[in-house]
Symmetry: C2
Subunit: 186 residues, 2 copies
DNA sequence: GTCTATATCAGGATAGAC
DNA sequence: GTCTATCCTGATATAGAC
């Protein structure tokens, strides 16, 4: 039922999807949905919260690296892969922010900021070590995340390029944009 | 009335905004709206089409430059400024694509692709002239547009940085990411 | 745990008075 | 050109049978 709701919200938008439609997709009658969620708003919030918690959990499992360049590459590849694998959840978590009640909105935004902080910390370390050339780490954080998340708007399975190749190309652009040198793999 | 609708659609989403609410914001009764639009869907499409036509019109008025680096800088600054000045229209034109009927969707998408083609052409020229280092001009196009449009998600008037300064910083990142050298102003 | 039936309300759109 | 009144549909959510 979560899956049906997520797919429908991503496809048509939260406000445009009725509980009846979700029920139909799930294979139950509308009334039965309320066994699993108290209301539609909570359902939306739960989907978004689950997504953000997954994101932070998997991020924290990334192998740490002392080298900022290696850390940035790991983050870049992680971001692309994670977001690609859950395009519906990503879409909903971004597009439906405005349909969250204020309290719920704050909770999701806090998690998003925590994720951004992780990237910003890498950029700051690299700049302090004089391995990156970055005029403003906050702007660079926003710029890179927007750029990487953008993969979801065009990438399609079975297209011209493998996801691996896409990662390579984006990593090259990320690396150059922060003025980092190529590094050798150990 | 267009302005009210645009602002409300941007804030709450097309599906979440009722004609009654638009009427209220406009200062008329609901029935009166239908003097200006045949229906809600057409209203949405008109708003998006107007935005895209404006975008293409202003783009075509950009001074042409033979130098790909200068052309890329002009595009970068134009994109940030134009999108910043119409954040509601940008938001709606991106977020509400899925609420367009198929025929309308195709028309908007065609215009969007035309805009992207303009940037891709600059990148191709620069690469052919060996002034840019770009592994894939299509991906670079997507990556740069996503990065630049992202300014709208965080920039607020009166914040830490002027828009001019933001342009400078983004231009530096764009320039580096495609491997272009700094150029002197004539 | 699920269905049927329904209460209640809000939505888009139209008709006809002024 | 605008308002009032209204049609009809579909929305969320709940009650109560099974």
């Amino acid at each position: 039922m979560r899956e049906s709701a997520l797919r429908l919200f991503a496809r048509h938008g939260y406000a445009a999807v009725s509980m009846r439609r979700i029920a139909e997709e799930t294979g139950v009658q509308a009334g039965a949905l309320y066994l699993y969620t108290p209301d539609k708003q909570t359902l939306l919030f739960d989907l978004m919260q689950t997504h953000m918690l997954d994101l932070l959990a998997e991020l924290s499992e990334l192998p740490r690296s002392d080298c900022p360049i290696a850390a940035l590459e790991a983050f870049t590849r992680f971001h692309i892969r994670f977001h690609r694998a859950r395009s519906d959840a990503v879409f909903v978590s971004y597009m439906e922010l405005r349909n969250l009640e204020p309290e719920n909105f704050v909770r999701i935004e806090t998690m998003r900021r925590e994720y951004e902080k992780h990237l910003e910390a890498i950029l700051e370390r690299g700049r302090d070590a004089e391995m990156f050339e970055i005029p403003d780490t906050k702007l660079a954080t926003f710029a890179l995340i927007a750029m990487l998340t953008g993969v979801n708007t065009w990438y399609r399975e079975g297209g011209r390029l493998s996801l691996e190749r896409v990662e390579d190309i984006y990593w090259e652009m990320v690396r150059k944009s922060v003025g980092a040198r190529l590094i050798r793999r150990g």
